[in-house]
């Protein structure tokens, strides 16, 4: 027995010997290691597949995009990144010319000749965008440019031959890209800030193929050191181009940013930290524990901790015990939460019989009335979420602060009356499936939803949970129209409300992003008109009209924008962001020198 134990101990020691070495230090100085908590794990880190928020966060730190958003300016403003300047747009708005910086190199990697990273050329950008249209890539960003760039879709149907030139996507020379759109696309420059548009090298793709995810070869401020299911470690890219930080360029506002210490960064070249560690902690409790134990620099505070962290709601005030320790910021989410009715479902959506169609409409409107946004906000968002009618959230300029909010006000009496008037009672109400991917919170949200409905007289047994083990399975189910009530959240891809409007565009019906399969010719017409317009009062008007159409048809119970609460310790200098800026802010993160060495 003793012998065995010894062997086991030996084995364990051996295994430990094989574990990773302590992090490298930067030329004698103690390494600056910033630890960032994420509430989910990224999937693939191949830019063409970086679909999750978490993956995008990391991808933009490993790769370069032509454009990015300004660090501090709000509302968000696009800023050249790898591009020299903003695109030169032709008269008709269809042709864009973009010049890219010289002397930007990929990181050193065996895929290159001699293992030395080569310079990035315009053709790399062209290649990177084309990749999305190559079925072999299993890319997920193609929708951004689908039917937008001249010849690109054709290129795909003709077999995705990279040697074949696409008319609308050309490298004029080594440093100039020319893009021709098939119709005006005012949001185009936004698409170039996406992780999807990150520039990859053809050599790396050729060598690593599917494994590119684990061998990122980019030119971003960081390079990947290691990555597993609970953390990713990124180290400073020492060859990153020197671009001194300029406060005014980034939209510095002393009133907002001085207390965060950002002015100290003036003139220094990012990235400022030696090592960037992402910890993927899905459980709120564990994440909060790790943060309060000092293992993390930053956390998005779980809602269950709001009570603890905040002492009052308006104005939002940190509890005294945290006030001295942490910086905090409440940031409205660029997106919203809503519950769609499946309009393709004759029990609740469109019905060929006019009368029944009308009754279904009444049922939907009654359910909208029965829904209690105030309570939802109180329970799940600590009453600091922003409830708004429709799909134009307060975070966008098109939001109408004076609009009628009755759509999101609970009217139980109205709901009951509406049901009664249309001949609905406990027996005639249809049994509806409410789908959600399994999680504690999703289940609680469902139970609350069901409670709202039972308050209006809907029998509990007639709202059936349909639980899916994976999000993908849930997605498949509602994409195939198998779920009557679809609870979703939408995170905007770029700061333009067009991104929300397409959610109900008829041709985008399931399996597209129009999961409600809403199909209103009026709405579709308005969408088409607005889609080619730049931001203008007219466009705003059209958007508001569309919003009203949605509410009239009671297509969706919507919506709320969450307010995210960020905490970070005082040794960290940064202004975190989870929406459009996303992972770009990482390069500007700095740690106060004194504290940098006292990592746990």
């Amino acid at each position: 027995m003793l012998k065995k134990t010894k062997i086991i101990i030996l084995l364990v020691l051996l295994m430990l010997g094989g574990c990773e070495q302590p992090p490298p230090t930067d030329s004698g100085l103690p390494a600056k290691i910033y630890r960032h908590a994420m509430d989910g794990a990224p999937g693939s880190l191949d830019p063409a597949q970086a679909t999750s928020l978490y993956a995008k966060f990391i991808v933009v730190n490993l790769y370069d995009t032509l454009y990015r958003y300004k660090y501090l300016a709000r509302p968000y403003q696009v800023q050249p990144n790898l591009a020299v300047a903003m695109p030169e747009v032709s008269e008709d708005g269809l042709q864009l010319t973009i010049r890219i910086k010289r002397g930007v190199y990929f990181i050193d990697d065996p895929v290159f000749e001699g293992g030395i990273g080569r310079e990035i050329k315009a053709k790399d950008f062209v290649y990177s965008i084309k990749r999305h249209f190559d079925p072999a890539t299993r890319a997920q960003g193609a929708w951004l440019w689908q039917n937008r760039i001249e010849g690109l879709d054709l290129w795909k149907t003709e077999g995705s031959d990279y040697d074949k030139e696409v008319i609308g996507l050309r490298a004029l020379d080594d440093y100039t890209v020319q893009i021709t759109l098939s119709r005006p696309f005012p949001q185009f420059v936004h698409t170039l800030t996406q992780g999807y548009a990150a520039i990859v090298s053809r050599e790396a793709v050729r060598k690593y193929g599917q494994m590119l995810s684990n061998h990122p070869v980019g030119s971003g401020p960081f390079r990947l050191v290691s990555r597993d299911s609970v953390r990713a470690v990124l180290a400073k890219n020492h060859g990153f181009r020197q671009e001194p930080f300029d406060l005014t360029d980034e939209g510095f506002d002393p009133a907002k940013h001085e207390k965060l210490g950002i002015q100290q960064l003036q003139g220094k070249s990012p990235p400022f930290i030696d090592q960037l560690e992402f910890e993927f902690i899905t459980e709120d409790a564990a994440r909060w524990n790790a943060f309060s134990a000092g293992e993390l620099h930053f956390i998005k505070v779980p809602v269950s901790q709001f009570d603890n962290v905040l002492s009052q709601r308006s104005p939002l005030t940190l509890s005294p015990q945290y006030d001295g320790m942490y910086h905090f910021e409440a940031s409205p989410e660029a997106g919203f939460i809503y519950t769609n009715f499946n309009m393709a479902d004759p029990r609740i959506g469109y019905h060929p019989d006019q009368e029944q169609n009308h009754r279904n409409h009444a049922l939907r409107c009654a359910m909208v009335k029965a829904f209690d946004w105030e309570k939802r906000n109180e329970i799940f968002f600590y009453d600091i979420g922003q409830v708004f009618p429709g799909i134009i959230p307060p975070s966008v300029p098109e939001y109408d602060a004076d609009s009628d909010t009755s759509y999101v006000q609970r009217d139980l009496k109205g709901a009951r009356e509406l049901l009664l008037a249309n001949g609905y009672d406990e027996t005639t109400l249809p049994t509806l499936e409410y789908g959600f991917p399994n999680s504690v919170t999703e289940r609680q949200i469902f139970e609350q939803f069901r409670n709202f409905m039972t308050d209006a007289g809907y029998p509990a047994s007639k709202i059936r949970p349909l639980i899916f083990a994976t999000y993908g399975d849930y997605q498949r189910a509602y994409s195939q129209g198998k779920v009557a009530l679809i609870n979703s959240s939408w995170t905007m891809d770029y700061p333009d409300v067009e991104n929300n409007m397409q959610l109900y565009f008829g041709p985008n019906a399931a399996p597209g992003s129009n999961s409600a399969s809403y199909n209103n010719p009026d709405y579709d017409r308005l969408y088409k008109t607005s889609a080619v317009l730049n931001e203008s009062p007219r466009r705003t008007q059209i958007y508001r009209e569309m919003n009203q159409l949605l509410m009239n048809d009671c297509v969706s119970i919507t919506g709320i924008s969450r307010t995210l609460l960020f905490l970070w310790d005082k040794e960290t200098i940064m202004k975190p962001d989870r929406s459009f800026l996303g992972g770009y802010f990482m390069r500007f993160v700095d740690l106060v020198d004194s504290a940098s060495s006292t990592a746990p």
Binding site: M1, T5, I8, L11, V12, L13, M15, L16, C19, E20, P22, A41, G43, S44, L45, Q49, T51, P135, A136, R138, Q140, G141, A142, W143, L144, Q146, Q210, M211, L212, S213, N214, R227, D228, S229, V230, R231, E279, F280, I281, E283, A286, N289, A290, S292, A293, E295, A469, T470, Y471, G472, D473, Q475, R476, S479, Q502, N508, P511, G512, S513, P600
Partner: protein, 316 residues
């Protein structure tokens, strides 16, 4: 024990392996999660959906896919993870040692302690010490793993309690940090298995102590140490070995699942759990295949150990 014997035992494992792979393939792959909708972008066309299905191999006929799976297992070419694109084999190589390092101390400690307590209780059968140990083990058996983990975390890892150990993570680069990270999971594992182990070992030891040959030994003046540590232990080795051998594959995969997902330790359990919730079939397939192989191996080694331990089993 000879080479043909070992070979025959391993051959016996073939139908078992086929069964394991077939059933798990049927359940986890054929009826299993579908990653198509996670891998397509927004507003996909029917064509794009088919492209993804094709690239995932979902469009192939069942038997062909199963055949490929078996081939993959045989050639140890396990493909790439659907989610991260990392080769499954390198994921396994990375995670397996971590799981072992995480679970082994608790497993060994739980069994050794259980054995010691079981022996003690069996020796003092019917006395207060026995009753005490047995009552404690009933209490131990009645506490859910989950409750233990949550309680230990509060008690040892948070400011609400002693705040001595990390809440989560696994940044091991030495013995010190190893103990730092492994203590709480080990404690949880020991606590949750100790009750069962103690009872198991006590039952076996008590049976052995009542054997006629033990009475013979006592009649010939053998002392308690000789009785227990020589004769009782050696005679009870078969059930003990069986239990240990058979739990190894599961301890490594299943047992660590909860621990790893709660303590955020990047072991094979967590990888598997993530594969379940994200529908990463290549990983699922590999893990199931791997456990099947481990199980068959355990079965074979177990049989061979039998003949070493017990002369009655040896092929004479």
């Amino acid at each position: 024990m000879s080479v043909p014997y070992i070979t025959s035992r391993l051959l016996y494992g073939i139908p078992l392996m086929l069964g394991v792979t077939f059933i798990s393939f049927l359940l986890m792959v054929h009826f299993g999660p579908d990653k198509t909708y996670e891998l397509i972008g927004k507003n996909p066309t029917e064509e794009q959906i088919n492209e993804v299905r094709q690239s995932l191999g979902y469009d192939q006929p069942f038997l062909l896919r199963y055949g490929n799976y078996v081939k993959e297992l045989l050639t140890l070419d396990l493909g790439l993870s659907d989610s991260s694109g990392e080769p499954v084999s390198s994921i396994l190589i990375k995670t397996l040692p971590i799981s072992l390092a995480l679970v082994l101390p608790g497993f060994v400690l739980g069994n050794l302690l259980g054995m010691a307590l079981g022996l003690l209780a069996a020796w003092y059968r019917g006395k207060w010490l026995d009753k005490l140990v047995m009552s404690a083990s009933v209490v131990g058996m009645s506490v859910s793993f989950l409750v233990i983990i949550i309680s230990l975390q509060i008690l040892l890892c948070t400011p609400y309690g002693l705040n001595l150990f990390p809440v989560r993570g696994w940044q091991v680069h030495g013995l010190g940090s190893y103990f730092y990270y492994v203590t709480v999971p080990t404690l949880a594992l020991v606590l949750v298995t100790l009750g069962y182990n103690t009872r198991f070992y006590r039952a076996i030891m008590a049976d052995e102590i009542e054997r006629d040959h033990i009475r013979t030994l006592r009649a010939y003046g053998a002392g308690p140490a000789e009785l227990l540590f020589k004769h009782v232990l050696k005679n009870s080795l078969i059930p003990v070995l069986t239990r240990i051998m058979f739990s190894v594959p599961f301890v490594v995969v299943s047992g660590s699942l909860l621990l790893e997902s709660y303590f955020g330790i990047p072991g094979i359990g967590l990888v598997t759990f993530n594969a379940i919730t994200s529908g990463d079939q290549p990983i699922l397939k590999a893990v199931v295949g791997l456990t099947g192989v481990l199980f068959v191996l355990a079965l074979t080694i177990n049989d061979m150990l039998y003949s070493v331990v017990d002369p009655r089993v040896s092929k004479s």
